[in-house]
Chain length 370, copies 5
């Protein structure tokens, strides 16, 4: 990853955090966000024996008909069709504030009990865009409405299980279906985090072998990204927890047992994110102390070389002076001595050796790893 790449990846998310589409409007106003995509609606109706699946562009009353004992799952993908959302709101008696939250796709995960139905907001991490997508669920008696912000989801295996009546899913109610979707969503976090784990391991190896500044930028970027993921998982955990703990009649005891398992997974995810963040911090500390060690080493080399040669150079300079030996016998008589030059050389060797010995004595040379 280049620096440029790092920058590009991070840039869009910061200021967009504080962008609220409906900020200027009256509360409860349901308006499509400018980048909302075309809606597609998939309606699934099932019980233990029957299964029916239709895909439509426009809703009508017939499509939303409910039969006792059957579960109706209306799954709208893409939130551009405001009329459809309004129609669903009327058909299932949904509160306008909840509908507003459906189209304003920057909600934190939460569970809200509206009496007749639960309004659940969950978020899916997007692997390639380091962003997250909103999934809104309305869980009522015998129905489940889901609103996905973007096309393409991870729920196909669930639909397959429904179609082929695998496991207990068809026999269970809408609460179990809601659990299955939330569980699937949370399962999707694992491979993403695994990717971070692998990158951290690779960085750790690199950092020990060849530390350089880019790794640090990457570690900082990774910490920021993990912080972002933490901010998504933390309220997911609370959302699942309130499904488990709050005594809503809409979630039956068996589904509650399954959701408890799901809650365990969110705790585990938090644990992993924390481990990764602390590992990244620890690696940054390793880098900083290796930088400091290296700096020390560089300064030591400079100091040793300078400290040995600066006095020696002074001596050569001394005997390079041009005092006029003819003018006076006091002027640099050493230059005329028979052993003047060898004595000067000897002086320099002795001085250099003494300094080397002193450095070794202070432990700056010759003991490894300092």
């Amino acid at each position: 990853m280049t620096r440029e790449g790092a920058r590009k990846r991070r840039t869009p998310s910061l200021s967009r955090l504080a962008t609220r589409a409906g900020a200027g409007r009256a509360p409860g106003t349901v308006v499509a966000s400018p980048d909302a995509s075309q809606s597609t609606i998939r309606i699934i109706r099932y019980d233990a024996e029957r299964f029916e699946e239709i895909q439509i562009e426009r809703l009508d009353d017939k499509a939303l008909e409910r039969h006792p004992g059957q579960v109706l799952w209306v799954d709208m993908t893409g939130l551009g069709d405001i009329d459809g959302i309004e129609m669903l709101g009327r058909a299932f008696g949904l509160h306008r504030l909840a509908l507003e939250d459906v189209v304003n796709v920057h909600q934190r995960p939460k569970t809200e009990d509206f009496g007749d139905y639960l309004f659940i907001v969950a978020r899916m991490l997007l692997r390639d865009r380091h962003d997250s997508e909103q999934l809104a669920l309305f869980l009522g008696d015998g129905f489940l409405l889901t609103f996905q912000q973007r096309h393409g989801d991870c729920f196909e295996p669930v639909r397959e299980r429904l179609r082929h009546n695998k496991g207990r899913i068809r026999a269970a109610g809408a609460d179990y279906l809601a659990y299955t979707l939330i569980d699937k969503l949370i399962d999707e976090y694992y491979p993403l985090l695994e990717g971070y784990g692998e990158r951290l391991e690779a960085l750790e190896d690199e950092l020990i072998e060849r530390p350089h500044g880019r790794q640090v930028d990457m570690l900082h970027a990774m910490k920021r990204e993990l912080m972002g993921i933490r901010r998504v998982i933390w309220p997911m955990r609370e959302m699942v927890n309130s499904l488990v703990r709050d005594e809503s009649a809409l979630v039956g005891a068996p589904a509650r047992l399954y959701l408890r398992d799901c809650y365990d997974h969110t705790i585990q995810l938090m644990d992993i994110v924390e481990t990764y963040r602390e590992t990244a911090s620890s690696l940054l500390d390793v880098y900083l102390s290796s930088m400091s060690t290296r700096m020390n080493e560089i300064m030591k080399v400079l100091t040793i070389i300078s400290t040995i040669f600066i006095p020696l150079s002074f001596i050569t300079g001394l005997y390079g002076m041009n005092f006029d030996r003819q003018a006076s016998p006091w002027n640099m008589p050493e230059l005329g001595w028979v052993f003047g030059y060898p004595m000067a050389l000897t002086l320099m060797v002795v001085l250099g050796a003494s300094l080397l010995f002193w450095f070794r004595h202070r432990g700056w040379i010759g003991r490894r790893d300092r």
Copy 2:
């Protein structure tokens, strides 16, 4: 932003925090603060069918008349008219301590239940002055009193909705009106924070391309400002929460539902502020480690150059000495050798090359990004 600008912007707020106008007086004394501006009073009276709006300078009993089934909204802007405030206090039976808090405009946001009415303090961030303004509300049965510290507010859209009977606002009670005002106020925080988000992104780009000290000063200033904003939003969150949770009969179930939505927004704002603060901290760390890398690099260049040339200069100094070759054959015979000079040059080249090789071996040269 220049340093001077940074200084000017921050300076006024610190010591003023601890300035309490009424500190020396008996509790419950209502005295105008010296910089209180002229009061204007706007009275709005409405129910689902009727709407009446008057703007006056001085209050009289007639203006405050209450009609069953109607909502009376008295909105005083500018807190210079102590008589008017006292008169409102008597007319609506308000506690003197609450009135004192109305004129001492440095209260933290809070909700206080006085039985017959709720006393609510909220704060509006001022975009251009990095300060906040106080809004005090008294919510009673059929009336809402609001006291704004300064002229100019963000409530015109609410008044428009009242005038033109848009949405459910005219049909709902005083509690819904209070909610609408608080919600509007909180909505105003978003664009302000978005501005911080944009400045952080710009700083991030600059910091990676051209790190310098001023960005650091700006990041520190931004952290301090975000800290200040956090200190406003945090009690706003508690204030809204206590409106939602406390079982006051003055807030009906439908308004409570809307306030819960409002509470979600305060949580989201806290989240955004935290994200920005952590991003600023992370960018400071990036800057510090880039400084440290740069320092290392500078030291390395200095050390390489010094370490190569200091020994070479020593050799030139050596053969620049003036020992008298006539006086003795031991004195610098090298100077008279036929290949003396080429040998000296060769020695220097070999020495320099060895040192370069050693530096490359230690990894100081030639591998990028160290």
Copy 3:
């Protein structure tokens, strides 16, 4: 403030923290501390109509007589008169442990409910000594006993209000009097903190214009002092809170309302202290990063100068060597060339210019603020 001044101011408080006068004695032993000052007793007795104030040196039974419907306020200043304290203890049935806390003047602020009376410990910050003084209160049915560690207090305005029957103070009970005193005490914290705010602002300005080490020492000292203040305000907050929340019959509903206001002030004080501490930390970070930037700059100047002149000096050294040109044509023929000197000068200029160009290329010269 000089370093010496900083040292003197801080020194006394650390070890004295852990000095407990009564540590070796049996619990409940009331012994005057060695530095306790002479006691003065002021007795005030009032109701809405009557007011009586006497100042005595020695207590007698008559002075402590209680009349139904009247409030008796016994205010002892200076805790040297152990007999007087014991006599008060017997007259009002006070527990020995509470009396022990009265004379051991290093108690944390607290509220203790002894059934018939509340025992309250509060602390007053001393402006000029950076220390705090203890105020102990016993609030009972119709009486209030206060024990002040030192002479000189901030309660004169309260006594004036009592004397001249200003406000509701004479009409209210002992609980309101206790509230008034505590509120007065807390009000005294504001100007002290304001002083810190002003010093912080001054330091901020200085630090940006002329950073030096003394400011850092002052910031550290200020952080420690604010920490000390925080340790006083925090339990004050708890003390007031337990007066508000605990359902003692001795504190009536109206006084409770006033105490809630008082509690708001303690929260605000904590807020201010926290803001100041974080500002001090932030300024320290600003200082550190400015130091680091400055260090970088110094190193850069050194490196540029050295790196340019060291190779140039090598060249001058080279042509300063004394190889004997007569002895061999290989010995320094450059010295005899017609354009030898201009060529050497040119070489040096080119070399120096190249290095300058390289530094500019690396961004070390010519772009401001690096």
Copy 4:
């Protein structure tokens, strides 16, 4: 420990944290993990008088027969035998989600109450691999099922006590057996932590005598490992606590008393881990400040040598210039003076001595420990 060793030890755990075997499957699917080892089953049946122990490869109904008043302990080691696990699930009426957690061996320690039985997950630290192994327990009325991930355990002393009827273990019920196993497991943490304590002490000694970079890497690695251990012990603590606090009828009062003791041990373990982590942090700080002191010392030596000899060398250079004394009397007349050379030498000595004196005055030389 070499760097390579450090790397090898840490690498496997990071990305594996986020690997979930069953992530893609329907909830409650029990599938053997790819590295599950061959299962062995040991069945122990006892009461105060009788004891029976069999070891089998395949389960049959007879082996699982329960007799009233007897405790049945089925201990499966190695989780490869899915059929056996399923059969146990049917025989004891275990929930599929719990069985799934048995084979997905990365669960956090927890206690889950399924009504008829408690499902307990505990983790054993592996001494030589710095990893942890899962132990799942089902505690029911008269039976205890344990599932160990790997072969080789620390329960042989418990089995010995059962076989030879030592202590009260045979007289007590399945709850006491479960307690004994958990207690044994927690006891195993002590020697492991003791090993860390010894390594920390050794590092501390080394660091004070010969600080170098490798110790820092080891301290960082140790902190990361302790963090990992903390992440295991923390939920163990919660697990034991919920056994103590939750009022399950399956855990009798006497066993609860023993578990409270066990809970104390987990708190003590947390305490030890925290102490070690803080000690490691403190040692890192000691290292960093010793590095900084050393750097200062190196810089001081360099500065002293340079600052003394650079001016002296300048003087030698000055009188090494070749201005033509014949051409003008202004050209370097000093060279012809009678005492020119001695004066130059004296100048140099005086200059050097003054600088030395100045350094000593500034406290850079001659006072130890700076």
Copy 5:
């Protein structure tokens, strides 16, 4: 304190933390620890009128006889006599787990309610060994058993008060006696902490006058020791708190009042330890920033000297070159100029002065304290 001393003092405690004597044994096994000292038993029996004190080596039934209305205090010092402990266990019906905790002397302070008696573990700090000693108490109806790990205690004043019937101690019950002992123990912490306070003040003075590395080592060591003390006091606080709050019938209301006072002391101790730790941290920060300032100063001196003399030396080197002026008029004609040498000197003076001026302009020279 020398480094060696620092090392010795710290070493023993780290790995011993994780040493558990009874780790391998069955729960409830009471075995003397290898370094347990010889036991001495002192039995005191008293009520308001009578007092009896005997000191024995071996227990017998007669010594433990209980008389209604009397308090029996059995105080065993040194835990080597396992038979005696077992006998006491049987005589007073103590649980084996509690007895095990009595001999395993590394328990955290705690209060455990066993119904008929309370089991209390407290710890005494040892002044000269920086370690702590365990005191175990069993408080029952009319009896108190205490088990002290080592000989020599601080309870003699309590015994004196019992013997001479001073204060209310003889009239009160076993609960008051237990309170007296715990209170005495906690009082012993004050002088120890006062010693730390004095050392911190001394270090603070030294650090401002003559900062060096050893002070830093001492500050780090002190922080670690304070951390250790904090780990003892924190559970002491909880232990006393649970005596105050838990509604055990064994602690009467009057004793509870006294214990509340004791609880205040533990809070105060925590406060002092925290203040000292934060002061130590603050002093470390002061040291680090003074180091950094000093480094900056050193670098500045080096840079100023180098930067002034390196160009000057270049000029001297330039005119020390030996180009042959005879060979060409272009070769160093300056050397033959009449004012060549004075011009060269002037050039050097001007250059040096300019650089000095530039440094002063940048603020590197002449303003103090930079």
